[in-house]
Amino acid sequence: MNRIEEIIAIMEDVSRYPAKAIRESMEETGKEVIGCFPLYTPEEIVYAAGMIPVGLWGGQKEIKKADKYLQSFCCSIMKENMEHGMEGSYEFLSAIIIPAYCDTLKCVCENWKAAVPDIPLIAMVYPQNRKITAGVEYLVNEYKRVKDELEKISGKKITEKELEESIDLYEEYRKTMSQFVAIASKYPRTIDAKKRHSIIKAAYFTDKKWYIPLIKELTTELNMLPEEAFNGIKVIATGILAEPEVLLDTLVQNNITFAADDLAHESRQFRTGVSNSGTPLERLALRIAGNQKCALLYDEEKTRGQLLLDLVKEYKADGVVVFMMKFCDPEEFDYPIYKKELEAAKIPMLYLEIEQKMDSVEQIRTRIQSFKEMLTV
């Protein structure tokens, strides 16, 4: 096994067994762990508090308890998170942060108080009018609140210096990831759609100080290899997240690879950096203000279609794959708008309606095969 394979195997292991990876991180670092619900939470503040933020993006559990709180037409990530919380699989968390980006998140946050009373909740709201002064101030105040809550849990004050250092670390993470995905697109066989997903996902369950050097090493090692010839189909993936993994298997089997992504779970996390001016919390707030083209952040110009067109062009992609998380209102509202724009530009599009746990993926398999056939004719 060469070093590239080794690092990929480590990342796959972390992604496949998140609880194990988190417990190992806790043991190695002696740090407490804070759960972070989708989509964006101030991980920098958590890290500055001397704790490890971990991402909670659902799972594959059969829903038995969450139905007590949520109707059937609720997005599967939120149902899974409720289920995991109620089942006790998050018991190692010192607290969780739930941001209210959408109506479902608002409700899940409220239900959490009753459903999982043992895990302290830090509720927060990100402003939608985030570019105006009042919006930036509001977010800074929300961050202060989160900071206070975290200090209560850890029992110690977070210093400005710790915040600055944490922001630097996260900037490094974002740069490292941006470089990785850019390089990875040149090695579609070594870094196929599924491996790419696992590598990016592993960041959610580990200490960034452990994770970043490995990704840097992986990127460097890849960069030393000659670019890989690829006769398959290169696509841009868009949506909340690209799961269940069996779909990625099907894509790989059909020789379809991700040239780049616009997934909330992946590139949307790291494609926007912090601002260089202001206090640490202002820098973080301005990062959100500058964050565009996400379905969960107000965008009156609806620039997502243009982003997808730009990505297609930049990466010479053959088409766009839409991972539509069923019952996700924000994503479902964006779709008709960018669909029209992609169709006008004659960009082939594959629409996959997904839930995290799917009883049958046969229909989707067929759709992926037809998409491939359509593009290889």
Partner: protein, 408 residues
């Protein structure tokens, strides 16, 4: 002698006038806005900008049983069947532009306030994009705390100030602060009378047939900042008050046997079906969580108070408030039961319903049922299921009555 009009007659006249004026304004080149239903209309009224409310219009289309055509149109363009049906109807209407339920002019800009849900942000973004028009957004953060926090008030106030600048730019007119003060006063007064009128239903029997709340709701949405609106709700409150004094119940031909609350929006396409099943069983819907959302009351010229009032509607409040609010309604309106509408369109209302139901049940002991429906999509409701659930509610309420009688 000129005979004075009843509030019901006035209601219809005002609604007709509201739509006619907007269509007329559009024809003569004046600005028209589309607004969400609980937005700070004070700013638009001050600028004398005509407004129509897509939610009102979609509800009217639903009630005229012609929503399907519009829903089909938007779904054909990629709008998911799982999205809010008001949005699907409205987006379909933007293309079809013709309905037997009445027409509305296309907007010159969009006025959106997310105190009712975040879905409206996405829906209105799409309108703004499709029509290439500006959008003014009021982002009223969801209140995870019981009360509206001070930093939210400050943020909302900042957005009010920002919106004034945006409105001045869009209209090319100066914002008249004296007029604004007056509109604020009228709006609060109207809201007080609206609340007063709905509170009259606390009398036993209730002088109000609660489904009338749904009819009058269209007017509190669009007439809150106008003197005509104020007069209408004052008249309605007085009519109900007189009726209560005369001990008149909701119906001439039937007695009020049970008093219930309705949680959520009406099923507009089945308004009369849902009503008839209740009436047949002697059930009067005397109150609802939803109409109180327009009780937006604050002191004139108090922007902070206005910010707080707009963020205090139950949809934007935490679950604890939601439960307390219903417990209070149970007491104030002497309720026998609760009907929860699990409305496929409204995730924000639905996804707290189960826990609210449990909390209210524990604290009050009164029975309740949940039925599946939708505000405008006719496909998401089954009359048979609704009847069965109401029947179950009647049995539980009857049981409770017997238990009470035995104790006394």
């Amino acid at each position: 002698m000129k005979e004075s009009k009843t509030s019901k007659q006035l209601l219809q006249e005002l609604l007709n006038q509201h739509y006619e004026e907007a269509l007329e304004a559009k024809k003569s080149g004046e600005l028209v806005a589309w607004s969400t239903s609980i937005a700070p209309q004070e700013f638009l009224e001050t600028m004398d900008i005509k407004v129509v409310y897509p939610e009102n219009h979609a509800a009217a289309i639903g009630a005229r049983k012609c929503a399907q055509e519009f829903i089909d149109n938007s779904e054909a363009r990629g709008y998911s069947i799982d999205l809010c049906s008001y949005a699907r109807v409205n987006i379909g209407y933007m293309d079809i532009k013709e309905s037997v339920a009445g027409n509305i002019p296309m907007p010159d800009f969009i006025f959106c306030c997310n105190n009712i849900c975040n879905t409206v942000i996405k829906w209105y973004e799409n309108i703004a994009k499709e029509l290439h028009i500006p959008m003014i957004l009021f982002d009223l953060p969801f209140n995870h705390t019981y009360e509206v926090p001070d930093h939210s008030v400050k943020y909302i106030r900042g957005q009010f100030e920002n919106a004034i600048v945006q409105l001045e730019e869009i209209s090319g007119k100066k914002f008249d602060y004296d007029r604004f003060k007056e509109v604020m006063k009228i709006s609060s007064e109207t809201a007080k009378w609206w609340k007063q009128a709905s509170n009259e239903a606390a009398a036993r029997p209730s002088p109000l047939n609660g489904f009338d709340l749904f009819n009058y709701m269209a007017t509190i949405v669009c007439m809150r900042g106008k003197k005509e609106g104020l007069n209408l709700f004052k008249l309605w409150a007085e009519e109900l008050h007189d009726k209560a004094k005369r001990k008149e119940g909701p119906w001439k031909d039937a007695e009020e046997k049970y008093r219930v609350m309705w949680d959520g929006i009406a099923c507009w396409p089945y308004l009369s079906d849902t009503y008839k099943v209740l009436k047949k069983n002697g059930i009067n819907m005397v109150t609802s969580t939803y109409p109180d959302s327009w009780s937006i009351i604050y002191d004139s010229n108090d922007l902070d108070g206005m910010a707080r009032a707009y963020s205090s509607n139950y949809a934007n409040r935490n679950l604890e408030f939601g439960a307390d609010n219903i417990v209070k309604l149970v007491e104030d309106f002497s309720l026998d039961g609760i009907i929860f509408h699990s409305n496929r369109s409204c995730k924000l209302m639905d996804f707290r319903q189960y826990e609210v139901q449990r909390k209210v049940s524990r604290r009050t002991g009164i029975p309740s049922v949940i039925f599946d429906g939708d505000q405008t999509d006719p496909r998401a409701f089954s009359l048979a299921q609704y009847e069965t659930r109401i029947q179950a509610l009647v049995e539980m309420m009857e049981q409770k009555k017997k238990e009470r009688a035995n104790r006394e």
